[in-house]
Symmetry: C2
Subunit: 351 residues, 2 copies
Amino acid sequence: MISVSARAVAGPETRFAPTMIARREPGSHDVVIDIAYAGICHSDIEHARALRGRPYYPLVPGHEIAGTVAAVGQAVTRFAVGNAVGVGNMVWSCRACPSCQRGLEQYCEGQRVLTYNARDRDGSITQGGYSEKIVVDQDFVIRIPDGMDLASAAPLFCAGITMYSPLRHWNAGPGMRVGIVGLGGLGHMGVKLARALGAEVTVLELAREKRADAFRLGATQFLDSTDPASFASSAASFDLIISTVPGNVDLDALLSLLAADGTLVSLAITPRPLSCEAVSLLNNRRSLAGTRSGGISETQEMIDFCAAHGIAAEVEVISADDIDAAYERLLRGDVRYRFVIDTATMRLEFA
Amino acid sequence: MISVSARAVAGPETRFAPTMIARREPGSHDVVIDIAYAGICHSDIEHARALRGRPYYPLVPGHEIAGTVAAVGQAVTRFAVGNAVGVGNMVWSCRACPSCQRGLEQYCEGQRVLTYNARDRDGSITQGGYSEKIVVDQDFVIRIPDGMDLASAAPLFCAGITMYSPLRHWNAGPGMRVGIVGLGGLGHMGVKLARALGAEVTVLELAREKRADAFRLGATQFLDSTDPASFASSAASFDLIISTVPGNVDLDALLSLLAADGTLVSLAITPRPLSCEAVSLLNNRRSLAGTRSGGISETQEMIDFCAAHGIAAEVEVISADDIDAAYERLLRGDVRYRFVIDTATMRLEFA
């Protein structure tokens, strides 16, 4: 076993505290990664605070991981010591089911293992990226293109792929009118990616003070999502809308913005069921859809696309001692646009 | 004006009674149709009985019309006296908006006029097919292929196209696993059409006595939609499910049946909002969609497809005096599979 420093919560109402966790000795297909940065995703808060599902405590969140290869198993062919690599929200899937065969490991019908708070094949509970090292099967490791900053690359492994995958699946590109609801960690990547794909991008956001940022990031229109006039004036004018809001929103209002054959993608695991009037879908043959992150080869495609277009997340790098404070700020929407933990601050000499 | 016999309701709780209604003198682009048969759609009941929307009384329902051309305006080029023709649920659209330009007149963003209970361009209220004649702009008249029985063709103009359009839009064909929920007027056409398109068809139905019919119509599987075991054993095994049930159903249960990228199409205008858990969509990147009938050129394509494959509706022909009784039987599900009014029974000598 490899013993590494990490930050964990002991229960839903405790603060993060330094701890040591065990990583397995690398098997022949494993990659040992020295984690440099770990992004903070809204779902980390939901798990740490038991706002959904059943957390296993002590819990080390983190599924936006960027770092450097420290060691490789003997059968590892795709990575070498020193490579810049990343890990997202999955560390295992069956690779045999129809979904895995199509590169949709996120919908694996067999045994998918999430990066943290999940039962691993050996029965242990996975622990995430708020730690110094992680050991991952090479099939779930992504190569970070040369020259990319690791801190701003880390959030691409969840926020980036979670936006890129639906944008690509629903064909965002030239001539497509795309709306991004909520300009946060996911939303800001959605704007950058949709614009880079050639789409015309509108931001729908309740915080009017983000208007200037929306345009700077690539939007050509900003709609105040609290103003009914925004919806009336933009009825039936979008082909694809992706809602990044981590809660229930007025789906009928958003659906009314879709032109014929338009799709509203809702990314949130909402506290209450999704609900809309039947006519909101019947009109214009609209669809309401959901997605979960993206597949492994698609994640590689995403980060290569980001490198080619000079895109990355806009991050605020924090110390591991400031995770609790960052959670509070994130819940207030006070982050532009992703907190990233500098894991060097976890080393024992700092603890 | 042309005065013709019809059957109308005077209010939401009255019985159908003989009446005379006025049809406009044909304009240069109009086709005068001697109606032979008019199908009874569930939505006729909803309108006649004021179960949705705001009916204009006296109300003559009927948007599944088959008959023969009696006269044509001077600019009519596509039809001649004696042609077998049909009319569905639209008699006008703008033909200039993006939807009309794409052949999606059912989503016209300008002025679409429904076949009955709608305000026409001249301010009058349209009256439907429960009548002897109708006058319709040639662009909204469909040619019925030679040799097709008019009684069993009539339901194709609503039930047929309402199933054909989503089946085609979501690519029903060889290798696709299609579920049809509810084996009624729409559902039985859905089974026939999906099978003729080459898809593998399952019927989900609560009436187990329809099992034999499901197989006769072309299904290869029958699932009892009241049995939780049906859902457990068929999880994630469909690519497309179309629900024809005219009310709220358990969408989470139906969504659980969809494999990766599957779509659930709900055709009903439901009394209560549609509702499902967010994870029901997030899992397998599922979509919940709606559609309204189909476009004009697609309706022509549908009936040509039906003729080529020897498909039509299974009908029970009734007298105009039996409309009220037919409504009661339809509400009980006691029809295999569409009531069609023989409009010859409306003539004054019969009244």
